[in-house]
């Protein structure tokens, strides 16, 4: 009755073997490395790049212990941390700013292991050090921005068709246009519908006023906000690339949040500055029709025309700028700092995309002699960087921005513009930074807790249950092996609470073995033969094991669903730990017991510790 089928032994042995393969990479440690990535995402890596990297290193006598080419980046393994720092600056200098060179760590495990997909556990930020940011995206601003650009489109379309309207305004995301007559309203409505037919309209006639309300449908709002998040994600990606982080994680969380994890980043101030900068560039025309500085002095703001706003330039002078936006930073494909050959001033030259270039060409042609303002909006402060007079039509989409105070500023603004603009402003609402020494400390704390807890359990079990205790301990070790293997194979993020969960599941997993052992003792106490006791003990314990594990599983799942960050890490390990512990308690321990006792015809006594007979039944 206590025989396991041969396939069960085979299954167990295969699982153990596989687990060992997946656990192995965790023991090889890591080597310092540098990672080289092209700034433009998706750019392929060719052999000439590889060669130039190798040559650069060779020239300065740095030996690399391996070049690894992956889809979009190259990793160079080095011998020491000093070499790593030296190599980083050398390669960055030789490759120029088209590539990002970042510090990284590579597992020392042999190639055949990594080729099999066997990697060390993926450590969370609290174990490897780094920064975690949670950013809140202000989607209402994205809606407002889109509404503003729609309104601009309507204005020019209505003007083009010569339809009379008094006033086109917006309030948050509702636009309203006042028309001169009902006919013009219905004509105007059709024109607007031609531009975009996803609006809802509302006609209001009060006090001789003929008003058309244009309401953006929920569906459109949704797509606008979705697009805004996507654009922000992309922008952050670009900015993080500029920072040079080896394995960043950038992810949307919920509707309007973005998680950014930057492993190994020490300079949090710099990271925050680059991520937090919400600079956008806007090009608008200067309102020169009725520009009289004195009118707009403080307290007289009601004099500002409704279609215009007032901003200061770099020297503090006020400039009246039209509200209509000609172009925004989204149309910029590249921006580079430079020096104006004639004046020697620092400049930023920008390149516009196709649509941007054609708009720019048209606007400059139509407005020769007028002034165009370039506005930089940073941290909610709008500043007119420069407002040059348009001297002639500018085609080709190449624009030079003057008015930079020095070369450093030109570089900063170029970086900002190149890294893209944000569709909606963002704010850091959560920051978690863990220093590198702290990460190492946390690993050793978690590992120590697990090891000492484990040793204590071994002693207790062996003393109390003798041979069956040893079997329980072997089962528990196999369980630990499975759990670590599963965590490595799934590349689930291991955090400090996750390490605590490993320790905790060990303590909880022993419950299954205890239940089995106690049941077997019970059966012997009831006068059953050793063989029958084993068989019945396992059978009776199974239901209880299942019940108690499922209730813990419910708690684990809740933690997973509602938890975030480190707590999720705890939940993952807890849930996986329950699964592995059930497998090992049922299959593995039974197989060992059957292997030891199953073939013996006659057993007089099981070594399961002393059993005290009860005489009340």
């Amino acid at each position: 009755m206590n025989h396991s089928a041969r396939w069960k032994y085979l299954l167990i042995l295969t699982t153990i073997l596989l687990s060992i393969i997946f656990v192995m990479p965790n023991f090889y440690g890591e080597a310092p490395a540098i990672q080289i990535m092209p700034i433009k995402a998706g750019e392929k890596i060719d052999t000439s790049l590889l060669q130039s990297i190798e040559e650069t290193l060779e020239k300065s006598g740095i030996t690399n212990t391996g070049l690894i080419v992956e889809n979009f980046h190259i990793k160079v393994k080095l011998q020491t941390a000093e070499d790593q720092l030296k190599a980083k600056s050398l390669i960055q200098n030789s490759l120029g700013d088209k590539y990002v060179v970042a510090l990284n760590l590579i597992s020392n495990s042999p190639h055949w292991l990594s080729n099999m997909g066997s990697l060390p556990m993926y450590l969370g930020l609290d174990l490897r050090g780094g920064v975690h940011f949670l950013m809140q995206v202000d989607l209402s601003k994205a809606l407002e921005k889109t509404t503003a650009s729609y309104l601009g489109d309507f204005r020019s379309a209505l003007r083009k068709e010569k339809i009379g309207y008094y006033d086109a305004t917006k309030n948050n995301d509702i636009m309203q246009i006042k028309f001169k007559s009902k006919e013009e309203l219905s004509k105007g409505k059709n024109i607007i519908r031609d531009i975009n037919d996803s609006f809802d309209f509302k006609e209001i006639f009060i006090n001789d006023e003929i008003i058309l309300k244009i309401i953006i449908s929920e569906q459109t709002k949704k797509s606008i906000t979705e697009f805004a998040i996507k654009q922000n994600l992309e922008t952050i990606n670009n900015r993080v690339n500029e920072l040079g982080v080896a394995e960043p994680l950038i992810q949307q969380q919920g509707l309007d949040r973005i998680v950014i994890q930057l492993p190994g980043v020490q300079d949090t101030a710099k990271a925050k500055e680059i991520l937090g900068r919400t600079a956008t560039l806007e090009m608008r025309m200067v309102n020169e029709d009725n520009f009289n500085k004195d009118i707009f002095k403080d307290g007289n703001e009601s004099q500002i025309p409704v279609n215009s706003e007032i901003f200061s330039d770099r020297f503090g002078a006020d400039i009246l700028v039209k509200k209509q936006i000609i172009l925004t930073g989204e149309r910029i494909t590249n921006a580079a700092p430079g020096v104006d050959s004639q004046t020697g001033q620092s400049i930023v030259s920008i390149t516009l995309d196709g649509k941007g270039a054609s708009i720019f060409k048209q606007v400059t042609r139509e407005n020769i002699g007028k002034r165009m303002a370039l506005l930089l909006i940073e941290k909610n402060i709008t500043e007119v960087v420069t407002a040059p007079v348009i001297k002639g039509e500018i085609g080709g989409g190449r624009v030079q921005i003057t008015g930079m105070t020095n070369a450093q500023e030109a570089t900063d603004i170029a970086l900002l513009l190149r890294a893209g603009s944000l569709a909606a402003p963002m704010e850091i609402i959560e920051e978690r930074t863990v220093g590198p020494s702290m990460g190492k400390e946390n690993i050793s704390r978690g590992v120590q807790s697990t090891i000492w807890g484990f040793i204590a359990i071994i002693i207790m079990m062996a003393l109390y249950y003798m041979v069956f205790g040893v079997i329980s301990v072997i089962t528990l070790s196999v369980n630990l092996l499975f759990l670590v293997a599963l965590l490595s194979a799934l590349q689930a993020t291991l955090t400090l609470p996750g390490l605590a969960a490993i320790a905790l599941t060990l303590g909880m997993a022993i419950d299954s073995s205890v239940l089995i052992n106690e049941r077997i003792r019970d059966e012997i106490r009831n006068g059953n033969t050793p063989q029958a006791s084993i068989s019945k003990g396992y059978k009776m314990a199974w239901g209880t094991i299942l019940d108690s594990n499922i209730t813990t599983m419910i708690a684990g799942l809740a933690l997973f669903m509602f938890g975030s960050g480190p707590i999720k890490g705890f939940a993952v390990v807890l849930v996986l730990g329950i699964l592995t512990s059930m497998f090992s308690a049922i299959f593995v321990s039974r197989a060992i017991v059957n292997y030891i006792y199953g073939n013996k015809r006659q057993i007089n006594k099981l070594s399961i510790g002393e059993i005290f007979k009860v005489d009340n039944n």
Partner: protein
């Protein structure tokens, strides 16, 4: 070795009235402290900034306080953390100062007076995140309670489900009571521990109930109290061994786990100790008083037919 050489079943249910008084008192005391003293919530929930910085030599707390006062952060709490070299700084949320700025401000100020200062850890949480955690935490607790009750109703019957969940809530409230009384910091990891206790401590009830159901089938002539007494006595050895093992690991965490895992382990310790007590002296009497008996268990037990 055998811990429990009991000849007769221990008459646990005889003491159920006393234990009810004890449990109720403990429960009310816990609620009292939670209301009067409140939980010492960590920045995870309240929002704010927590920084752990470390100096090569023993840190001068007064100097740190002074330099923070100089940059108008007089509401900063500064204290040693674990060792003399490590310092924990807490700052509430400030109007007009974003959470990203506040930690940089503190770090750069402290660096000025001592270049060797190292920032080991920063946790900065905005108020909206804290509020959400509150909400999510409560939802998680609710989800676990409902999930466990549903499962137990399916596997056993509703009387057991209610008894087990009451025993569980008793444990959780007492953990919170301890945290309120001693003003230990209640953060996200502690919440995880509380939820783990919810799942873990119900195990105890499940094991006993399992035995109770089995006993109803075997001990035809015994009354409900006797059946329960026997079930508890017979599972006693397992209870002690299992909890001893888990507790050993948790003690190991208390010793080696450092400051971050300290309160997590504390919550688990209280949860484990009271979990044993409550599943025996809260869950079982509760199931008894709710009217659990042979008939209502037999109906819900399909295995019974096979054995007759």
């Amino acid at each position: 070795m055998e811990f429990f050489r009991v000849k007769k079943d221990i008459p646990f249910m005889k003491y159920s009235k006393i234990s009810a008084v004890i449990s109720t008192t403990a429960f009310i005391l816990a609620v009292f402290f939670i209301i009067i003293r409140g939980l010492n919530l960590g920045v995870d929930f309240t929002g704010g900034t927590m920084m752990e910085v470390s100096y090569p030599k023993a840190a001068n707390i007064d100097d740190i306080r002074q330099s923070l006062r100089d940059i108008d952060l007089e509401d900063a709490q500064v204290q040693n953390f674990g060792t003399e070299e490590d310092v924990l700084i807490r700052l509430p949320i400030r109007e007009g100062l974003s959470i990203a700025e506040i930690s940089e401000k503190v770090a750069s100020t402290l660096k000025l007076s001592n270049d060797l200062m190292e920032v080991k850890r920063v946790e900065s949480v905005g108020s909206q995140v804290g509020d959400e955690l509150y909400e999510k935490g409560a939802l998680a607790v609710l989800f676990v309670c409902i999930g466990i009750m549903l499962y137990l109703t399916l596997r056993f019957e509703w009387r057991f489900a209610i008894a087990a969940i009451l025993a569980n809530i008793h444990d959780v409230i007492i953990i919170l009571g301890f945290f309120a009384f001693f003003q230990w910091e209640f953060n996200l990891t502690v919440l995880a521990a509380v939820l783990a206790v919810l799942g873990y401590s119900v195990n105890e009830s499940v094991v006993v109930f399992d035995r109770v159901r089995e006993n109803f089938r075997k001990m035809r002539k015994a009354n409900v109290a006797e059946v329960i007494n026997n079930a508890i006595t017979r599972t006693m050895s397992r209870t002690i061994m299992t909890h001893l093992s888990t507790q050993t690991v948790v003690i190991s965490m208390l010793i080696f786990g450092g400051e971050i895992l300290h309160n997590f382990a504390l919550a688990l310790t209280i949860g484990i100790l009271f979990g044993i007590y409550s599943s025996i002296m809260v869950g079982c009497p509760m199931a008894m008083w709710l009217g659990t008996n042979q008939t209502n268990l037999a109906i819900t037990n399909p295995e019974k037919k096979k054995e007759i």
